[in-house]
């Protein structure tokens, strides 16, 4: 599954575009991310699926555009 990362998350991961295997939902995504990138522990972020914020645990389709979004700071 392809993932997009933004802001401080992209900085910690070292990429704004990367992939992870065997992700069935947003909870397992977060778990896997923590295993692979322990520095994410201290960061807040939300997950969007096809440009909509995922509320609660959301099943992920391999074709969905999934993104990791730290707190917004536009303006």
């Amino acid at each position: 599954m392809n993932l997009l990362a933004f802001g401080i998350i992209a900085e910690k991961i070292g990429a704004s575009n990367f992939s992870l295997e065997d992700i069935k939902d947003t909870d397992s995504l977060k778990e896997k991310l923590l295993q692979q990138y322990p520095t994410l522990q201290e960061l807040n972020y939300i997950v969007s699926v096809n440009c909509k914020i995922a509320h609660g645990n959301t099943v992920l389709d391999d074709l969905a555009e999934v993104a990791l979004l730290p707190p917004f700071s536009g303006g």
Partner: protein
């Protein structure tokens, strides 16, 4: 039918000339009585690592434009506006330069003013945009709107 979202992003700072042109374009709309404008300017904040000299903006553009379209539709449903325009910078904007331009127009002042303020609040809170503050010693710090 769903409209394709309007672009709001401009590369680099928003210039006063662009703002003047935008105001000028509304002189033909003779049912307008009031305009309300909000401008965000990059501030020389003093952080632990030193003075902020610029902010580098990035966005999840597609999501931001879709969300902005939703905000725009909500605002037009709630307020009787003649028009509303939003521009946000991407890339580097130096201290003293403008990074956000929100512009609402209506027959009456109260409507234009309230709609502008609500748009600004929602833009800051809901658009996936990130500002990375660049300090004088070239270190960086991710901006926090809270």
């Amino acid at each position: 039918m769903k409209h394709s979202p309007k672009n709001i992003f401009v590369h680099g700072a928003i210039t006063p000339t662009k703002i003047a042109e935008s105001i000028q374009h509304h002189s033909a709309k003779t049912d307008i009585g009031a305009h309300s404008i909000f401008l965000g300017q990059v501030r020389a904040d003093e952080l632990e690592g030193g003075m902020v000299i610029a902010i580098d903006y990035t966005a999840y553009e597609q999501m931001a434009l879709e969300k902005m379209q939703e905000i725009r539709e909500d605002i037009f449903a709630k307020y009787t506006l003649t028009c509303a325009h939003v521009y946000h910078s991407l890339g580097e904007v130096k201290v003293g330069e403008l990074c956000l331009f929100v512009f609402t127009s209506s027959k009456h002042r109260k409507i234009a003013i309230d709609a502008c303020e609500e748009m600004v609040e929602r833009i800051k809170k809901e658009l996936p945009i990130w500002g990375k503050e660049i300090l004088e010693n070239n270190s960086t710090s991710w901006k926090n709107n809270i």
